[in-house]
């Protein structure tokens, strides 16, 4: 199935979308797409078929988000903890990923036409080499798009991300680009995989589990977390609308509870800003070099 869905909504669905747009729409929504295996069990199909249906649902949901005016979506596709599953299941998931990323590259013109940028966040060094190359190619071929962003968390855990940020900062200190006192919450945030994104406004987890499971822990401190018992492959546009309605109703109370909003705190302007800017640009250069290495390896 294609990455870009262009199916039209029914008239009452369009009505619901337009009504919701009268309220505040989250700019960035994160999804924990849980319940594929339970869906497969329920339907009497193989687990990998459940995951495949999960991907189809993802493309549908992305289409609905675009219609609603949500510009950025982050999805939890594969956790580092999922490597602990059976070798057979992991291999099947990797094959599914290869198939989908290859399809993405085939459709890159369509993606560019819609202005969608794909970013893969996570420790991609843990993936098989050929998949790493596909992932980097996908990112490179869509990086100049600015209309919408899809972040795919693949081989990701939040703790690994935070550890990676500490490592980057340590590299900066070792290379004399930073001083220890420069290490602040803000700097750590700028070293995370999600540094080019806004923080999510709404996080939706399906299948009834009520935890974050090591997903975007740092980024969801001011976020509305919506847990729904629906299984991911059965997630409907009405479930999405309901979650956005919850977000809209939560927003004033949440803002009141936060008062000095988590991210609104102004960072003091100090003479180390130049040093930090230089470190951040060096870090991007290092990242770029790594990606080029992945692209050029056989």
């Amino acid at each position: 199935m294609s990455w870009i869905q262009e199916s039209k909504l029914k008239w009452y669905e369009t009505l619901a979308v337009n009504v919701l747009k009268c309220g505040s729409i989250p700019k960035h929504v994160a999804f924990i797409m849980d319940g594929n295996r339970r869906f497969a069990n329920k339907s009497g199909v193989k687990k990998i078929e459940g995951h495949s249906k999960g991907f189809d649902k993802l493309t549908e949901v992305l289409h609905w988000c675009l219609l609603l005016g949500v510009n950025e979506v982050t999805v939890y596709a594969f956790s580092i903890e999922n490597f602990r599953r059976s070798e057979e299941e992991v291999d099947q998931l990797m094959s599914l990923a290869r198939e989908k990323f290859k399809r993405l590259l085939e459709e890159k013109d369509k993606l560019n036409e819609h202005g969608i940028s794909i970013r893969v966040i996570g420790n991609i060094g843990l993936l098989p080499a050929d998949l790493q190359k596909l992932v980097v190619e996908s990112m490179e071929s869509t990086k100049s798009n600015t209309e919408a962003v899809l972040n795919i968390a693949f081989s990701y855990t939040s703790r690994e991300e935070m550890t990676h940020a500490v490592r980057e900062v340590a590299w900066g200190v070792q290379e004399d680009l930073l001083k220890i006192d420069d290490i602040t919450e803000d700097l750590i945030q700028k070293c995370l995989y999600t540094r080019h994104s806004l923080q999510p406004d709404l996080l939706i987890r399906t299948s009834g589990e009520v935890r974050l499971s090591d997903f975007l822990l740092w980024q969801t401190t001011c976020c509305t977390l919506y847990f729904t018992p629906v299984l991911w492959p059965e997630f409907s546009i009405w479930d999405l609308c309901r979650s956005i309605l919850h977000y809209q109703k939560n927003l004033p109370v949440l803002e009141k509870a936060l008062k000095n909003s988590c991210d609104g705190r102004r960072q003091p302007i100090s003479e180390n800003m130049d040093r930090i800017e230089k470190f951040l640009s060096q870090m991007e250069v290092k990242e770029s070099r790594t990606r080029n290495q992945i692209l050029t390896q056989a």
């Binding site: 939040s158 703790r159 935070m162 900062v169 340590a170 919450e185 976020c223 977390l225 939560n250 949440l254």
Partner: protein
Amino acid sequence: MGILRLLYVILHFFITYIHNLHVALSELVDRIKPVIKDRTYHWPADCHVLLTATTVKLGANIKDESLLLQKIGSELKRLDKLPIHVACLLTETDVNIDRMIVIIQWFVSMGVYCISLYDHEGCIASCQDEIKIKLKGLVENLPNGLRSKSIAVYKGFVKKEFFSSDSINIFLMNHYDGKSLFTQVAQRIVDELNYSQIDQSVVEQAINQFYPKEPELMVQFGSLLSNTTLGYSPWHLRLTQMMRAPNHTRLRVDHIVSTMLEYGSCQQRFGK
């Protein structure tokens, strides 16, 4: 187009209003008739007996709360489903300390000896002295076996050496105990180690020097319709089950029981 837009705005107001009514009605029903959410599909067979007994007991004015709570706590412990650390997240702006003390008493009666009280602004943390005094009074109301336990009240995270696992530990936290703990730990790690030596186990070890450790359960009090973490230390929330309870000023013991039983029926797969 103007008329259509007006229609949408009216409909938006309507659905918001209907939703508000629905929420108010659920709260009203809840006040009249306590309900234990029946997530029994995860429970072993003999627990159905406990669940039925609890529902019956709660419906009929609990006389001996602490005995009931003890029973539930020991049953959960038997199933390895009693959280070691419960985080209480307060979203309300006015904090009623006496009510919080009662809630702490309920948790302690069940066997939870590590409780963190968190609110974003720090209202709870600023009442540390008042809480300390009132908690001393709590010891007398505890079941027999627990009266000899000491109660320690800390502000923010504490280092291992100042922490005793034998006492009842209450932590008062606000948003300065969130990301800033991680930042401090990061500064220490960067100061002591080479970047190639830093991996997840190093960071975990450094953070585990501080107590409390990860909460297994986070209970959010207040009228928010969805969950939120309000800046609680992100590192610690990796696998925390997040549940909601009504405003702490009108919280009843059956709400806590309901939350604990629901926690007990959650299954962790740890990625597998």
